[in-house]
């Protein structure tokens, strides 16, 4: 029948038009979104480099260039560090050691922040920080900054590598063995701390194992200890409980690696990690079906991180407009991102460590084994005012009102360079590539969502507008 034929032809034409259309390139806001979530935000040039690519190409570009080592030289004391012999120390020597460790701790934090603000691979640092917040260890407990440095190197090496390999490695990591008390765990008196967090916080998640499971797992990790002379990992066979255990319904003379393998066998582990990554990269509300899909990719791919991150960065949820600008910048995001965006010089990275600590994120010293809660918990009345004060300080708009340094024990006078700072933002705007010189384009560059307070008129961008966008509540979102 002619009618039907006409209909069929029409449908074929429609199909021809819609099906093989080439994937569209990103727009500037989308390129910015990917850079803000996968790193510490992007400059105009970085956005321009990604914008012509498709989602898949852009995600691949970021993942392909991600490194696994830091470019910043490590602190000098790291290389030949050996554990101090506290037992034979005098009180004065112990005090001196404490001071040394305190100073080294500051240098360690400064080192990482220097790496974050200069790295060519921000995703590497974002993921290293993700794992630091997952496999937490703290200077407060471990004491030796060198061990935390080595753990950080380990986390970075595996940050975008293989989760299974990272899990096996972290269980032997000296800082972790000290932090969760496994170094002294021995047959007959197993310490359950590591085994508990391994199940609750590192793999399965709470409620997905029994107390009996973790007690048995603790037996399997007995003897995973440290060498007294070097603090390197050492398996002490005499301390190890080689007997039969029953863990998660399986029986065997399991050791620690066997337990890890059992945990990696469980589907809950992949889902647990995917949910955490979703909160890191996508939104505070993980989508159950998407989590299952991504967890399957993760598990079936042998826990390789890059395919999983590629799947996240190309998921519809990642790009959905309703998920843009809905994650709160961490203190590190805020500080490092601002430094990178405006290419601000830093006199001493230890100041940055002090600042992120003040804002609630003391690197290498998470509040407890669960790490920083993150999300909206970053914003309290206290931290919001500190953040606004910092940003006002950056833009110079707080200068005039801060000529009273007596407050809170601050003794040193403040240089008054408000005009200097105003001029800095004028220069910064003038230096933007031509397409970014409009007020709306610059707003896209600086904010994930439209500003709340600042009025953006359809005209040329100005330093004054840049400063008001920095002070806007929207600047705290990514």
């Amino acid at each position: 029948m002619p009618v039907i034929r006409t209909l069929l032809c029409g449908m074929m034409i429609l199909a021809a038009v819609t099906a093989p259309a080439p994937a569209p390139a990103l727009d500037a806001a989308e390129a910015r979104h990917l850079l803000a979530r996968s790193g510490f935000g992007g400059s105009a040039a970085e956005i321009e480099a990604l914008a012509p690519l498709t989602r898949e190409e852009a995600a691949a570009a970021i993942l392909t260039r991600a490194g696994s080592t830091a470019v910043t030289p490590p602190p000098a004391w790291e290389a030949d560090w050996l554990p101090p012999k506290r037992g034979s120390m005098s009180e004065a020597e112990r005090l001196a050691l404490r001071d040394t460790q305190r100073e080294q701790g500051r240098e360690l934090k400064a080192w990482w922040l220097a790496e974050m603000r200069t790295t060519p691979s921000p995703l590497t640092e974002v993921m290293t920080l993700f794992w630091h917040n997952h496999f937490t260890s703290s200077l407060a407990k471990v004491k030796a900054p060198a061990l935390l440095y080595r753990q950080n190197v380990l986390l970075r090496r595996h940050a975008l590598g293989n989760f299974a390999a990272l899990l096996h490695a972290i269980a032997r990591d000296p800082a972790m063995l000290i932090y969760l008390d496994n170094a002294s765990s021995r047959k007959g008196a197993p310490n359950e701390n590591f085994a508990r967090e391994l199940m609750e916080l590192f793999t399965l998640g709470e409620g997905r194992y029994s107390e009996a499971d973790l007690k048995e797992a603790a037996r399997a990790f007995t003897g995973w200890s440290l060498d007294r002379e070097t603090d390197a990992f050492r398996f002490r066979a005499a301390w190890h409980d080689g007997g039969e255990k029953e863990i998660l319904g399986r029986r065997g003379t399991f050791d620690g690696d066997d337990v890890i393998a059992l945990l990696l066998d469980r589907p809950e582990t992949a889902e647990f990690i995917v949910v955490k990554l979703w909160r890191q990269f996508v939104s505070e509300a993980p989508d159950a079906a998407e989590v299952r899909r991504l967890a399957a990719i993760f598990r079936d791919g042998g826990y390789e991180m890059k395919p999983l991150l590629a799947a996240i960065f190309t998921s519809d949820a990642f790009w959905a407009p309703e998920n843009r600008g809905r994650l709160v910048k961490s203190p590190v995001d805020l500080v490092v991102g601002s430094l990178r965006l405006f290419d601000l010089p830093v006199n001493d990275d230890r100041d940055l460590a002090w600042l992120t600590r003040r804002l609630g994120q003391d690197l290498f010293d998470p509040p407890d084994v669960k790490g920083w809660p993150g999300g909206t918990a970053w914003i309290t009345g206290a931290s919001l005012l500190d953040r606004q004060t910092l940003l006002a300080r950056l833009t110079g708009s707080a200068e005039a009102a801060t000529a009273t340094p007596a407050a809170a024990g601050m003794e040193r006078p403040v240089e008054s360079n408000a005009q200097h700072r105003a001029a800095f933002f004028d220069t910064w705007v003038a230096g933007l590539p031509a397409p970014w010189q409009g007020a709306e384009a610059m707003t896209t560059l600086m904010l994930a969502i439209p500003p709340v307070d600042a009025a953006v008129l359809d005209r040329r961008a100005s330093g004054a507008l840049a400063r008001s966008l920095l002070a806007d509540p929207a600047y705290h979102l990514k």
Binding site: G381, L385, A398, P473
Partner: protein, 397 residues
């Protein structure tokens, strides 16, 4: 180009005068609220050189260079006396406005500053880690927020905390919604930095930021207005950091800011070396500030509704160390001051001839002190989850 220097960042923090969350300005029909002022002796005070067992020969023996000579000790009774730097407190002792809780601590004492103050702040056991302060726990458990069975209908206090020194500590948590104030001169700055629109939004993260900002802004405005309207206090405070905190507390109380809970911090007690002059200066500063605060409270007619309590993460070891200092220890005495206090000693001085590994044995669990404050001062029923198991000290008659 503006470099981000430590100096500027420090100042950036210093101008954060008013940090916290929401003011809970209840409409009060009851009389003026009771006030609790908590003073953290940060670092762990050397109790043995604060309230001194001068009659015990073991004291001088344990402290060849640090012991205060018997004739310099300000005697409170035939066994115990105050460090001479605490002389300003003697009239309060005689007026029975000063209480001394002896041998306060917990077992087993954690020697980490960080961990031990966490235990004191939250009144947790040594095994659990809690984020909320003990006052939050007590208030929520006894229903100040109306959620528990024993909800308090007409509390004797305003459930709002103000932190004037150090972290929120015992005030942390939503029940007191603590506001942190660093310097009243900077209130205007906070008002300006947190001004802005509270636009309705479907973005939950943005909504959280805007709500937090509006609450802070409201609190800053409210306090600034009250301080402006209140008549100034004529009592002159010491110019030390602690003196300034007490001065601000007095100003806020006199201005009728609806907050009952103040947290102050006196830093520097971690005296591992060359302790003698530093400790004397600290105690002198503390005593001056306390006495001046009492004067100011008497001036504004508030002393009868004020209770001041000191606390610290731990005391120090019985024996002095080789550096003329003292190391992290266990039990220590703490001071209570207030117009309605019975005064005198509470508990027993730990014995110096019965040390545990060189340390005093805590004789009074700090949670008994807290329970006394919660029940005896704030008028709360026993808190079922936190302090309920600890018999309150009989502080008030």
């Amino acid at each position: 180009m503006p470099a981000l220097t430590r100096r500027q960042l420090l100042t950036a923090a210093a101008i954060a005068p008013f940090i916290g969350t929401l003011p809970r300005a209840f409409a009060r029909s009851a009389p003026a609220p009771r006030i609790l002022v908590l003073v953290e002796l940060n670092g762990g005070n050397d109790g043995l050189n604060t309230v001194i067992p001068y009659a015990d020969a073991h004291y001088a023996a344990a402290r060849p260079t640090l012991a205060i000579a018997r004739d310099r000790v300000l005697q409170l009774d035939e066994r115990l006396g105050l460090h001479p730097a605490l002389a300003p407190l003697m009239p309060l002792w005689q007026a029975k406005n000063l209480g001394v809780a002896l041998g306060v601590g917990y077992k087993p004492t954690n020697r980490s500053h960080f961990r031990s103050i966490e235990i004191w702040n939250s009144a947790s056991t040594a095994e659990e880690t809690l984020q909320d302060g003990w006052l939050h726990r007590v208030l929520t458990e006894t229903g100040i927020d109306g959620t528990a069975q024993s909800a308090i209908e007409d509390p004797a206090f305003d459930a709002q905390g103000i932190v004037l020194g150090g972290p929120e500590g015992p005030l942390a948590g939503s029940a007191l919604a603590p506001v942190v104030m660093r310097d009243p001169r900077q209130l205007g700055q906070a008002v300006r930095l947190l001004d802005g629109q509270e636009t309705p939004t479907g973005n939950p993260a943005l909504a959280h930021i805007l709500t937090t900002r509006a609450r802070m802004h409201g609190a800053a405005l409210d306090v600034a207005r009250r301080l402006k309207e209140a008549p100034p206090i004529t009592t002159t405070f010491p110019k030390s950091a602690l003196g300034r905190q007490f001065e601000l507390a007095a100003d806020l109380i006199a201005a009728g800011v609806p907050a009952s809970f103040f947290k102050l911090q006196h830093s520097g007690y971690d005296t591992h070396a060359q302790q003698a002059p530093r400790h004397a200066a600290l105690l002198g500063d503390l005593a001056e500030a306390l006495v001046t605060f009492r004067q100011a409270m008497i001036e504004v007619g508030a002393w009868d509704r004020v209770l001041v309590v000191t606390y610290a993460e731990f005391g120090r070891r019985a024996a002095e160390n080789a550096s003329g200092g003292s190391d992290h220890g266990t039990a220590a005495p703490h001071f209570l001051l207030g117009g309605r206090l019975g005064g005198g000693f509470y508990g027993e001085q730990p014995r110096l001839d019965d040390l545990e590994g060189g340390d005093l044995t805590p004789r009074l669990d700090f949670r008994r002190l807290y329970a006394a404050v919660a029940q005896g001062w704030l008028g709360l029923p026993p808190a079922p989850g936190s302090l309920g198991r600890h018999a309150p000290l009989p502080l008030f008659g």
